[in-house]
Amino acid sequence: MKARIHVTLKNGVLDPQGKAIEHALGNMGFDGVEAARQGKYIELDLAAGTTKEAVDEMCRKLLANTVIENYSIELE
């Protein structure tokens, strides 16, 4: 069983990496990139029967810093 977790910055938190990507793409001549945001993508291989609550706890307690980050979980 697998969890796919996206960790992204909260709205309003300045994102230096995203800004740098916007900048760099612009410099490289790619038009039409209006905004970029960078987050993390974490995949966990889980023992069968691991609950979504458990994964949620992992996110709250470690994988995301909820002061600045949101997360979302997909289980497969």
């Binding site: 309003g12 938190v13 300045l14 230096p16 990496q17 800004k19 740098a20 993390k40 307690k61 470690l62 994988l63 810093n65 002061v67 600045i68």
Partner: protein, 220 residues
């Protein structure tokens, strides 16, 4: 004054911190391993710089959840002075002992250099040897020192005198150029600059030494 330096796997300024503490207090600090559930009673706890757990995932994230930090949090809440420098500051924000978060430098580059700091609060346990409004020189060496907190938090920090130091110029994108933050009670300080690297003229100056002396003077 008896002190302890917490050592995480990947800490690399632990020795520097110990040297500074020994030079100023005359006593070798106890080096406490991250797996220690308990350690000797001390007057002062330092969380050193470095790359604990490789700074993987987020700087300080894994150390903040380590066994020893449960005890450090308990003691900090009980009023024991705790200083976190660089990675130590990151650990303190990750534990919630200090508000905010430290993000990637706006330049995205690691930055190692002397910086001028403006002393904002000269009354705290850690800063009483300085004069508010004066500038001191202390080096930084970090990739993630860009301090972030939301507006209300920043206003509250400034209002309560919890900003200890501010960069004289923008070096990493930190909100309001904040370089060091105190908790409400004033017994926890987190700062990106490394005072332990400026403790003698041979290293470029002694402005950092004053911080340790401030603590020493208060705690005896």
């Amino acid at each position: 004054m008896k002190s302890a330096v917490i050592v995480f796997p990947g800490s690399n300024c632990d020795r520097d911190m110990a040297v500074a503490l020994e030079k100023v207090t005359g006593k070798k600090p106890e080096m406490v391993w991250h797996q220690s559930a308990d350690f000797e009673k001390v007057d002062f706890i330092a969380l050193p710089g470095g790359f604990s757990y490789g700074d993987y995932l987020r700087c300080g994230a894994m150390s903040a959840r380590s066994t020893v930090m449960k005890e450090v949090i308990k003691r900090a809440e009980a009023g024991v002075p705790v200083l976190g420098v660089c990675n130590g500051f990151q650990v303190l924000t990750e534990t919630g002992l200090l508000p905010g978060a430290l993000m990637r430098n706006a330049s995205l580059h690691f930055v190692c250099r002397d910086v001028e700091l403006e002393v904002v609060n000269d009354a705290s346990l850690f800063t009483n040897g300085y004069t508010a409004g004066s500038n001191i020189t202390i080096p930084v060496a970090h990739h993630d020192g860009n301090y972030y907190a939301d507006k209300e938090t920043l206003d509250a920090l400034e209002g309560e005198g919890q900003v200890a130091f501010r960069y004289a110029e923008d070096i990493n994108g930190a909100q309001r150029r904040i370089a060091g933050v105190l908790n409400k009670k004033g017994n926890v300080l987190g700062m990106m600059p490394h005072p332990e690297r400026m403790i003698e003229p041979a290293l470029g100056g002694s402005d950092g030494r004053i911080l340790f002396e401030s603590v020493m003077n208060r705690l005896g």
